[in-house]
């Protein structure tokens, strides 16, 4: 009994450690994580007629538009024997996962200030739940992609050169890395915007610019060939590597170099850790400044 007397369960104090992740605590709140995921999934398309069909319609129409404009109008080549539609669908599915992870985590503090101001739970649960619920959306997009893939390969001659490579085994790693990078940058932005709102404006058009800089609608090789003096911008962008890798593993087009992959991996992990540090520093007092 006396021994127990000085054993405090936890301490609330202003001191901040660099990384203060209490995994035991996060584990205890795992049910909350799944309930958040469930909430996000079931409430997105409530009270719509088409419901989850929107998960299909959105990528289809964007891909169609992209194909019309970038391939039919601007004549960007997608490689021999690869239908432009499939090429764009691959790039967009990948990009969509990364960008939704980033944009929705970057709002974490602002859009949850109501809850955060009233109850405590490990704040990191919220961005985690976003990343997981987006996974469902990404999964549906992958299914759509697979559907068209099968159609083009088996029912038309357009995709004569499309063949998955062994790199496909890296798909789970690729998804994890995209999630880490999106989460990391998103958490940094969300922490910085609690006090100074300027960054919020950057996210909106910044994401659009980044899409153009991430080889979504063109192959990296084509960019290098046309604008060699600027290609370093595209190459240093880890998202380019992810998208090229995804097309490489599924369609067999694009570049895949181990150096680029390791670089992107390093960037993702560094961004994620940095995001965690900044997020942890912010979560303790953000409610006073938001």
């Amino acid at each position: 009994m006396n021994q127990n007397k000085d054993k405090w369960l936890y301490t609330i104090s202003p001191k901040r450690k660099l990384i203060e992740l209490n995994f035991e605590e996060i584990w205890r709140y795992k049910d909350l994580l799944f309930l958040f995921v469930k909430r996000d999934i079931i409430t997105v398309y409530k009270q719509t007629i088409l419901g989850p069909l929107w998960y299909l319609i959105q990528p289809l129409f964007t891909t169609l538009t992209f194909t019309l404009i970038f391939n039919n109008l601007a004549n960007i080549p997608t490689g021999n024997g690869i239908p432009a539609f499939l090429f764009n669908l691959a790039g967009l599915s990948c990009w969509d996962y990364f960008s939704t992870c980033l944009t929705s985590t970057s709002n974490t503090f602002k859009s949850n200030q109501g809850i955060f101001g009233k109850v405590y739970f490990p704040r990191v649960i919220t961005p985690l739940s976003v990343v997981i619920s987006n996974l469902v959306r990404f999964g549906i997009r992958l299914l759509v992609f697979t559907g068209f893939y099968v159609y083009f390969v088996f029912f038309t001659d357009a995709a004569s050169n499309a063949s998955p490579t062994y790199a496909l085994l890296l798909l789970p790693v690729l998804i994890a890395l995209m999630a880490l990078l999106g989460l990391g940058i998103g958490m940094i932005i969300s922490s910085l915007t609690t006090k100074y709102r300027d960054l919020t404006y950057l996210v909106g058009f910044g994401m659009q610019l980044l899409m153009y800089g991430s080889a979504v609608m063109y192959p990296l090789s084509y960019f290098k060939e046309k604008l060699p003096e600027y290609s370093w911008i595209i190459e240093y962008n880890p998202v380019t590597t992810f998208i090229e890798l995804f097309r490489y593993m599924t369609l067999g087009v694009g570049q895949f170099s181990v150096t680029a992959f390791l670089y992107a991996l390093g960037m993702s992990v560094v961004c994620f850790l940095l995001g965690l540090i900044v997020f942890n520093r912010t979560e303790k007092s953000f409610i006073d400044t938001v």
């Binding site: 609330i12 909430r39 109850v119 405590y120």
Partner: protein, 428 residues
Amino acid sequence: MMEKDIILKADKISKQYKLGLVGTGSINDDLKRWWYKIRGKENPFLKIGESNDRSTKGSSDYVWALQDINFEVERGEVVGIIGKNGAGKSTLLKILSKVTSPTTGEIKTKGRIASLLEVGTGFHGEMTGRENIYLNGAILGMTKKEIVSKIDEIIDFSGCQRYIDTPVKRYSSGMTVRLAFAVAAFLEPEILVIDEVLAVGDAEFQKKAIGKMQDISKGEGRTVLFVSHNMAAVKNLCSRALLLENGIITFNGNVDNCIDQYLSAERNDVVDISQYKNRQGKGHVRIIDLDVFNDKLKKINLNQFKSGYDYKFEIKVENLSSQKRDIHIGMSLFSTKGQLLTASGSEYFLEKIYIDGKEIKVIKLSIPSLPLTEGEYVLNLSCKSDLNGLEDFIKDSLIINVENIISTERNITKFPREMIQINHDWSQ
């Protein structure tokens, strides 16, 4: 002798806030703070904070919402925290519930803390009542297993069985609150922090809620920290109380003594009517002072009224012009929701009140056995003259606060939501 079983210990807790807007000024301060930090110096802004008195204008942008708070709570205790608006109660609760962290000091606990700061946090309108119970329970710290084992009790307690599979956005506001309180009531943390949640729902549900609160604190032996302006509830539930004034604990101990000190402390808090700027009327005659005396002819403050006692008001008016005027004084009482409760004018009692140019006159109003029940009311005062009509009108700025804590002495009953207490007697 038995050792005290301290479950929660606050050690020199302080919290500093910056007033005003966040803007370029704050980035300056941030840079300064950072510059001091890399040179290994102490945060320069921690020194300059002032104590947090809402009504006086200070010179510094930094205030201490809490200063040097020390207290201990034993296992099973129910501790009330009382104090005026802005005394730091909610800040303290926010720190306790880990919503924000203290600027200095630390709190150590031996149990999980769950807070009930506002019911319905995290409800999602598109989800059904049942889904929201799971979500809300998890947000408050319950595991799914705990919720599953209690869900029937929760639904039963909320009294929303019929609507439980309907989206919450179709609920009436009262039903939402019922459901939310029901979830919170079945939380089982070692320490429960509660902030004014009893003022919800209809009379039946309030009774149920207070009953449940009593069960939690008395029956189940849970440690509870309870913040309220409702002295009757504090008295009823708590075994000890803390009094917070301007961010400092000024009393820690017996509930009755604490409430007494709280009420008497407010006595010094004099309202200066002459400072009110927001007035209507021509302004040739002004109401410059209002004094209230109780039955012992002791001067009291506007928040020290007690149900059923006799009061005398002395309204001081000044004729700012040089003309002699004939004036009337009017008084009206509103509920805080804006409903007129009663009104009266001096013209029905005194045919003429003459006031010479530059003269100051005192008009007296007496109200025997104040018929208001516990709560806040708005007192409006007006002054009319024969020459100009409305001269002065103090509207919506005098808030009076009525307590009926000495209820047994004068047979004062208290029903929830009741506003008027008529003089009455039952017999057979």
